[in-house]
Symmetry: C2
Subunit: 433 residues, 2 copies
């Protein structure tokens, strides 16, 4: 088994005249990890955040694309430039889709199509928001752990991430309150612009923010809006992927003002990452800034995939598709949790989460066990046992770095592959313990 | 005829806590213009940089998409996440495509697939390069006039654009030399990082850089690389759209080091903007920084459109398609130049370019005639005569602002529409003169 274990960026000659921001943005792990997933097919990867291949709706998309391109007016519109904000037909469908998720009629959503923006995955909106809101030295509050690519975006604009611990119900409001109190006492409250929350099936922890905590986070954001509005960035990338439990209203919907929360969601997980269609709901006060920025970045995400998604929402086929996807992932999550029970229960000091959705299980080892790329465990896991995971340390901001966790993805492998991968991983962990 | 003539951003309440960069990025015209084009279908738009609708290959793309999605392995790969750098099959095809454009065998191109990056149109690469190279106060040399969205990118990172006049053969080397001499005497040479050149059928001037000037620009960049390498950003967005004359090697190819030039090109004009597939060739010294940045922005452009373009290049259908497109645009350019001759020849002080390709004709009026959004001419043209153009002032950096030009696009309208639009425009100009 041949594995490339090069640390990101090692050994490359760089241009001397890079911008400050470029130096800040250096060495983010996402590209490295995706590359690893692509390059090492022999290893069972519990690392890649890719989606289940058998869930990819090739037939549905083929028929939908063909249908679209057979209608001359629609074909012209789908293949032409769109607008920076995104296709109006898609934004209209998204309003209905959001209302359905909130469990209210469209008229009661309090959001119309003018508030939406379509982006290249939800990632682009996360990146654009960092650009439009954060100056170097500004502060964004994040979970510990949190989505590591977002940490890269913060680093890339020179912003500081201040961590607030999560538990099984997501970000802890009393710890959030404590962090803001401390920042105030340090005279840094005016630098706090944003609270970043992955509201459903967090990447990496798997935790969802409980209903009470959603209201608590909003109340805290309002209470601490002393120097300027403290906004909440709600990342609902995994919202469609609920396999158990009851859906909850988003923070966006809980915020009656509709001005406190920036909401992002994507079809990359529930439909196809190859289309890269994500969207956001913006406070009115941010619309112009976000669209100005997106105008400079690409003046509009690819229009053709947007037209496809609009049609799938309109004709209802998305709904059926996502039901099938949930069924497949439900089985995979169950396979991972069973295998964890089977292979890790007897290992001392090993614990893991039991999410109700998403793509990830978060596993914690004794604090003495380092899980990093260069650790004995990672090397043993990849080279000797043939299994790969995401080192948990990538998912912590510098103020809360912990090195004894692993993010395990059940998205890509079959249930059998998951079971085999977990057994291999348990072997590597047992050997390292 | 109902026309919305709101200036960009007028009357909107903005969030008080925007980043400095967001304030720099404000009020770029691209979104406004695209919106205008979409919202005012009754007006003959010679403004929109959209492409010819009848050139959009709906049938070809339908068949290609269907073919791709019928092959299970290809469907999985096209609908899954790709890599930040872009699909390898596409990058491999692009090497061959570049070699064909340079008129050399692939082996002699001096560029392989590792040097390429696939982006959301070439626009995204322009934006990323500004991010990775330019700190606030850094300088980029541009043409006067130049591509206005690029000016927005420069403004968005707080960089300064220093203008060098163009003529019918593109940027004037002696004026470039003079600008650098002046910057050196001002002690600002070390802030000059980049020379931005639209090498073929410039947007907006229509000019192409002559072969001698290509070498001259490269020599000047090398000569003035005193404090750090002075790079050349070659925007070849319109390279495929040559309707007359002989193709020339790019600056990229003229640069034997392959380290001086960053090259960008796109399939938005020659194939379909709805796919938004562009690409770049990067100096090795910039690869890591550009990919780090793109990793934060979107960790990869939509994969499905990339797979479509790869196939069209591989099976040769792109070549036939682009030949047909050139035929259609050749006719439109001719319609615009004939109409200009017919309706503007007798108007005193009016002059225009005669490009051999691209999508734009640049027209200059007497210096006393203002062409801006709020000018009597623009208002008269839109409201009374029912025709729209892009005010030339948008295409100048602040150090070279001129208000008496118009960018006229022949991309969207039929030859008849172009003739009618030009007649209307001549009416508006005559009335204003």
């Amino acid at each position: 088994m041949s594995v490339t274990l090069k640390s990101p960026g090692a050994g490359e000659v760089q241009f001397a005249g890079l911008s400050q921001r470029s130096r800040w943005a250096a060495d983010q792990a996402i590209s490295f990890l995706m590359q690893q997933g692509v390059e090492n097919p022999g290893v069972i990867s519990l690392a890649a955040g890719l989606v289940d291949e058998s869930s990819l709706p090739a037939d549905l998309l083929r028929e939908t694309a063909a249908e679209l391109l057979q209608e001359p007016a629609m074909a012209r519109s789908a293949l032409q430039y769109g607008t920076t904000q995104g296709r109006l037909d898609l934004r209209n469908q998204l309003v209905g889709y959001l209302a359905e998720q909130e469990g209210v009629p469209r008229e009661e959503l309090g959001v119309d199509s003018t508030r939406l923006v379509v982006t290249t995955g939800s990632q682009q909106l996360l990146s654009i928001l960092c650009e439009t809101l954060l100056d170097p030295g500004d502060i964004c509050i994040v979970g510990a752990p949190t989505y590591f690519v977002f940490l890269g975006c913060l680093a890339g604009v020179g912003a500081e991430a201040v961590s607030v611990p999560l538990d099984a119900n997501g970000m802890q409001p009393e710890r959030l309150e404590a962090a803001l109190t401390r920042l105030q006492s340090e005279g840094r409250l005016e630098r706090v612009k944003l609270i970043y929350v992955v509201s459903e099936f967090d990447n990496p922890s798997g935790a969802s923010l409980s209903a009470e905590r959603r209201r608590a986070v909003l109340d805290i954001a309002e209470k601490w809006s002393i120097h300027q509005p403290l906004l909440v960035l709600e990342d609902a990338a995994y919202r469609d992927l609920r396999y158990a439990g009851t859906p909850r209203p988003s923070l966006l919907f809980e915020d009656k003002s509709r001005e406190r929360v920036i909401y992002t969601q994507t079809f990359s997980k529930s439909l196809s990452p190859g289309l890269r269609v994500g969207f956001g709901v913006l406070p009115r006060s941010l619309q112009k800034a976000v669209l100005d920025r997106k105008g400079n970045e690409d003046f509009g995400s690819a229009n053709f995939p947007q037209a496809i998604v609009a049609r799938l929402l309109r004709n209802g086929t998305f709904r059926g598709h996502v039901e099938r996807v949930r069924g497949a992932y439900r089985e995979k999550l169950s396979a991972m949790l069973s295998a964890a029970e089977r292979h890790f229960s007897d290992l001392p000091g090993v614990a893991w989460g039991r999410p109700q959705g998403g793509l990830y299980v978060w596993m914690s080892l004794p604090e003495t066990i380092d899980t990093g790329f260069d650790s004995p465990l990672f090397q043993t896991a990849v080279k000797e046992f043939g299994v790969m995971y995401v080192p948990g340390e990538l998912c912590f901001a510098p103020d809360a770095r912990a090195t004894n966790h692993m993010r395990l993805s059940f998205g890509v492998q079959t249930p059998e592959g998951i079971a085999a991968g977990m057994e291999r991983l348990a072997g590597a962990v047992a050997k390292t313990l």
